[in-house]
């Protein structure tokens, strides 16, 4: 460890990029320092760490290494989505998100651990073992992008990317005290991103601060002809600079206080941040989102239904695990998928298959899609009166490993505040909003489609005012 490592470690990704551009730091120094820390990972955050620094362009992210959630396909690199059924699988192609970031100059340092096929909110569903929360190694880092969150929080990598379907970027960011952004649906190409729920999945940055989030998101977003649902962002992504929240109207859903399982400490941190926002000039008022409370019910029909179809390709025929049933094809299918999928994935495949099966489609999938329309309409009318809708990101702080694994429903309720946004396809960020019982809490800011620049600006102003310091866990 060279003398300079400590201050190198203290720099954010944007800081590193600046020093490299200015010639004060070499990309080799930065790579070696972080490669060593990633290799010594004792949080089980990484599933694969790069050997040599890959060649990358010299774009705006010049030389600042990044980590990618396991489910991002990278040519020749293990891309297993945290599952046994894809153990050791190395794709013949690279995902659009990783491609764009590498082209912007950031070398890929490693692949991070995750809940299997992004199903979970504690990272305990990974076939490769749970990830530990650097704030308290007896607790979960959140999920499903638990590895990326823990690695950034513990300073094992300057920044990382994850995916968010029902909260899988924002919730782990909240539980590990870092920033996580789920962009507008379609803002980042899903090509090469191993699918969980196609109409909800979005890739996004997990970073130490809002500026890094803006920088990394700016490199990821863009229309991609290989993803029919991807859209060109109407605005150039700018680095945030707002100093206050004058004229900004924040809407607080009327059921935040009564949300099932919300912890007093989380509520206190949330109220403190609202007060901070008002000091910065924001107006705060309650806003009705009558159908948001049904988001969990709609989500746990739509996501499992799409997942049951998206995971049908894992059949032991063309790649991945195969368990040969001597009694022919059907046995081979059933044994392979039985051995290859973890319990939570099997549960959701069953739930999704049931919701789509004959006679139940209208009662479940059809209805859930209508609830989704109502939730989108609720947000639309909320944004006529408010600039953003704000909530705590998670009802509770990081919970102990094993605390919720036997009660799927309570695990699902972790996503209460984060599920409505992907259902409406709108962007939302989570920023650290202080500690509760010594553990980080997250403050969520959601805005209309393609309002990322305004969300980042507001989050930046709040971040400066809150002054959260997560360096303690990066020692």
């Amino acid at each position: 460890m060279t003398a300079g490592t400590d201050d190198l470690l203290a720099l954010t990704a944007a800081g590193l990029a600046e020093r490299i551009r200015a010639g004060d730091l070499s990309t080799r120094e930065v790579w070696d320092a972080y490669r060593e820390r990633a290799a010594d990972d004792d949080l089980n955050a990484f599933l694969w760490v790069a050997g040599e620094a890959p060649e990358t362009g010299d774009g705006p992210l010049g030389g600042v290494p990044f980590a990618a959630k396991d489910l991002f396909c990278v040519r020749g690199v293990p891309s297993q989505a945290g599952s046994r059924i894809l153990e050791g699988y190395r794709p013949p192609y690279t995902s659009a998100a990783v491609e764009r970031i590498a082209a912007a100059g950031a070398p890929l340092l490693g692949k991070t651990n995750q809940d299997e096929f992004a199903m979970g909110s504690s990272n305990e569903n990974s076939a490769y073992g749970p990830v530990l929360n650097p704030w308290d190694r007896t607790r979960v880092p959140g999920g499903s992008s638990g590895g990326s969150a823990a690695a950034v929080a513990a300073g094992l990598v300057p920044w990382a990317i994850g995916t968010d379907t029902g909260g899988s970027i924002r919730q782990p960011a909240a539980l590990t005290g870092i920033v996580g952004l789920k962009p507008t649906y379609g803002a980042v190409s899903r090509y090469g991103m191993i699918a969980f729920a196609s109409s909800l999945d979005q890739a996004g940055p997990l970073t130490r601060d809002v500026t890094d989030a803006a920088l990394l998101f700016g490199a990821m977003t863009g229309r991609d002809e290989r993803d029919a649902t991807s859209l060109a962002h109407p605005e150039e992504i700018r680095l945030p600079s707002a100093r206050d929240l004058k004229g900004i109207r924040l809407g607080v859903p009327d059921d935040v206080e009564s949300a099932e399982g919300i912890e007093p400490g989380v509520l206190a941190a949330f109220r403190a941040t609202l007060a901070r926002a008002q000091e910065l000039g924001a107006e705060v008022d309650t806003c009705p989102l009558p159908h948001a409370r049904h988001g969990i019910a709609a989500y746990y029909v739509i996501a499992p239904a799409e997942a049951s179809s998206n995971l049908a390709r894992y059949d032991g025929v063309r790649y991945g695990l195969r368990v040969d049933g001597e009694e022919g094809l059907t046995a081979m299918y059933e044994k392979t998928r039985r051995a290859g999928f973890g319990e939570e994935v099997r549960r959701r495949i069953m739930l999704g298959t049931y919701a789509l099966s004959a006679g139940y489609y209208d009662a479940y999938y059809g209805r859930a899609q209508r609830v989704r329309t109502k939730i989108a309409q609720d947000f639309h009318s909320a944004f006529e009166r408010f600039d953003f809708v704000v909530t705590p990101t998670s009802p509770g702080v990081a919970f102990p490993l094993g605390a919720k694994t036997d009660d799927p429903l309570s695990m699902y309720l972790n996503d209460f505040f984060t599920v409505p946004m992907p259902l409406a396809g709108i962007p939302a960020i989570s920023i650290p909003s202080g500690l509760s019982e010594g553990l980080p809490t997250g403050f969520q800011i959601a805005g209309p489609a393609f309002s990322e620049n305004r969300i980042l600006d507001a989050a930046f102003a709040l971040e400066q005012a809150i002054g959260f310091d997560g360096s303690g866990v990066r020692a």
Binding site: H294, A298, V301, S308, G316, E334, L351, Y354, R370, L409
Partner: protein
């Protein structure tokens, strides 16, 4: 809410082998989640259009221009079993 027979039927549709006690546990767990989901059946959703697509951009259609394919070797690189340049599987009829 969802009984053993239905669990077995759904498991066959999903090509998932379930052992005896797993069927019971799955029936219990799925029923709990389905009870929670039932809440949306109380909502009045008359005349509400389902959202089948969050993005309704005009068609993102691809021009009919060839792109390079994988070599046979690349295509078969991760295959669990290969024969005659193809992916070998137990026969469907068997």
């Amino acid at each position: 809410m969802i009984d053993r027979a239905e669990v077995l039927h759904v498991a066959r549709l999903a090509r998932l082998e379930l052992s005896g006690d797993e069927v019971d546990r799955m029936a219990g767990e799925l029923s709990a989640v389905l009870d929670h989901i039932e809440k949306i059946s109380e909502l009045d959703l008359e005349g509400v259009e389902p959202t089948s697509h969050v993005v309704e951009v005009a068609d993102a259609l691809r021009p009919d221009e060839p792109r390079p394919s994988l070599s046979q070797e690349e295509a078969l690189a991760s295959a669990p079993a290969v024969a005659d340049g193809g992916f070998e599987v137990p026969s469907p009829g068997a």
